[in-house]
Amino acid sequence: MAVFDKIDPAVRRETGYIALCTLILSAVMEAVFLIAGRWGLPVLLGNILGAAAAVLNFLLMGLTVQKAVDREEAEAKASMKLSQSVRMVMLFAVAAAGVGLSIFNGIAVIVPLFFPRVAVAVQPHTPWGDRQDGGDGD
């Protein structure tokens, strides 16, 4: 896959870790909804939307960082600010769609947006946290 080859190995590995953690935490959230007796199709759809947005947000941030490290300092700063603004608009649109449309459960859309933060918090306690070499082999 030529597209994936262009992605920095460090970004690819971390995105994989975030995606895996998001998947696990999504399953936990679905289980909580099921136990609470509030599970339904809107919860599942909302979870899919929120989790996809969270992983896409991280991937886009990683791609921006990857490009920014090859640029000049001022240019890198500006590109990160622009990227953050655009991603925030994307997340706002996703959260607004999740809360505003009845086919999604609002809570199930918003909660997965915080899963990457949880994944970062638990990373030191996982095998990913033990790797200090950056994994790009250079």
Binding site: V11, N57, A95, V99, G134
Partner: protein
């Protein structure tokens, strides 16, 4: 009078959402500074590029969470709060 009260509620909710989104500026500045410092580090030690990128990515996620909190508060103030407040107002009027 009731219309005015509802208008004030809606206006204050919209104003609150706008003020909450001011917090969305912070992560952009923070991430920009993090990348700038990472560039300095990579410039000094190019062999640490992978490690620096990984650490910076994780730091950016932490910084971005602040913006997400603001985003959630803004969404709640726009979509959820007006309905609840107007409902409470109408119940008290009756």
């Amino acid at each position: 009078m009731l219309e005015l009260a509802i208008g004030i509620i809606l206006g204050c909710c919209a104003l609150g959402a706008g003020v909450a989104m001011i917090a969305g500026i912070g992560p952009g500045i923070g991430e920009g500074n993090a990348v700038a410092k990472a560039l300095e580090a990579i410039g000094r030690q190019p062999e640490c590029r992978g490690t620096v990128t990984t650490t910076m990515l994780m730091g950016c996620v932490v910084a971005e969470t602040t913006g997400l909190y603001a985003l959630v508060i803004a969404i709640l103030l726009i979509f959820v709060a007006p309905g609840r407040f107007v409902k409470i107002l109408l119940e008290n009027v009756k």
